[in-house]
């Protein structure tokens, strides 16, 4: 059913929680797990420079690469796709990756912001719902 599973991760704990589900889905179907990470960049400053939204972006990326390596080590067909996007546009990049790969499902973690938090900070999972070409499985941080 889910031959191609995308796990979209920002390197956070809630994304890690979603990995358990993504992995189970891929393993169950004997399918491929595509790990997608988007490095969100700030809007250009005066000098035209753009910075990663997450100051520890390098660490996050290294952590994700280790996770992909571990998945492959466990016998799973896991690949890593990294990209960049302007802040708030990660959902577009993930949806495009899903479309290009012909993914059957996208698995993401949810930070569970309050309504105000959603308004102020925005929710990647929510944005993804507006763009995803396939089902989106959202795993809340509080999921058991």
């Amino acid at each position: 059913m889910f031959d191609k599973v995308i796990w979209a991760t920002d390197g956070s704990d809630s994304a890690d929680k979603a990995l358990q589900f993504a992995r189970e889905l891929a393993e169950h179907a004997g399918g491929e797990l595509i790990v997608v990470h988007c490095n969100e960049l700030t809007f250009p400053g005066k000098g035209g420079g753009r910075l990663p939204v997450h100051a520890n972006e390098d660490e996050l990326r290294q952590k994700i690469e280790r996770q992909v390596s571990d998945l492959s080590g466990d016998g799973l067909r896991a690949t890593f796709q990294a990209g960049t996007a302007t802040v708030g546009e990660a959902a577009r990049m993930i949806a495009d990756a899903a479309r290009d790969a012909g993914a059957d499902v996208i698995v993401v973690g949810s930070h569970g912001h309050s309504a105000l938090g959603e308004l102020l900070i925005g929710g990647g999972a929510h944005r993804l719902l507006h763009r995803a070409p396939c089902p989106v499985l959202v795993v809340p941080a509080t999921a058991n």
Binding site: V105, H126, A132, P133
Partner: protein, 169 residues
């Protein structure tokens, strides 16, 4: 009391199997089309929606609205269960009436039955429509403490594919 009908169909999909005893809860409001099980031939009916009923019974008997909404919810729950059954799941329909938002009613019911996941269809509302009408799936995701699977309807998926190709071109 005016009840906002919410219908659910429970399924035990062995084929999905991401839990040892998985139970999925496809949750839909009474005035929303089911379809998360991928029956693309499922026809949009001229079924009753709440707004039309409110108009018809304007100033009338609230109990009648209650009963009509309950019947509508049951019909749609039955339809959802049939769709789930058609794709090999063990499913049964259930409805509930609660004086709350549709999303919270779905989540409360999911709590009651210990569902592992809630499966919903995305109506694809954006912008002002989403703001005014509200997005059930968004509210469910925001408050859920269990996994939620949101499936774009065939119409929504086709619309997004078209929009994507237009962007690329």
């Amino acid at each position: 009391m005016l009840r906002i009908g919410t219908h659910v169909a429970r399924a035990s999909p062995d084929s999905v199997g991401f839990r040892s005893d998985p139970r999925l809860l496809p949750g839909l409001p009474a005035n929303q089309e089911p379809g998360p099980f991928g029956d693309h031939n499922w026809k949009r009916r001229d079924g009753p929606d709440l707004l039309r009923r409110l108009t018809r019974f304007k100033g009338g008997d609230v109990d009648e609205i209650d009963q009509a909404t309950r019947r509508s919810a049951q019909e749609r729950a039955d339809e959802g269960a049939r769709l789930a059954h058609d794709v090999g799941l063990q499913a049964r329909a259930a409805t509930c009436s609660q004086a709350t938002t549709t999303a919270r009613a779905i989540l409360r019911h999911a709590d009651e039955i210990g569902a592992n996941a809630v499966v919903m269809e995305s109506r694809g509302l954006t912008g002002l429509k989403e703001l005014l009408i509200g997005s059930v799936s968004h509210e469910v995701i925001q408050h859920a403490d269990r996994t939620v699977i949101v499936v774009p309807s065939p119409e929504v998926a086709a619309h997004r594919a078209k929009a994507f190709h237009e962007e690329v071109e």
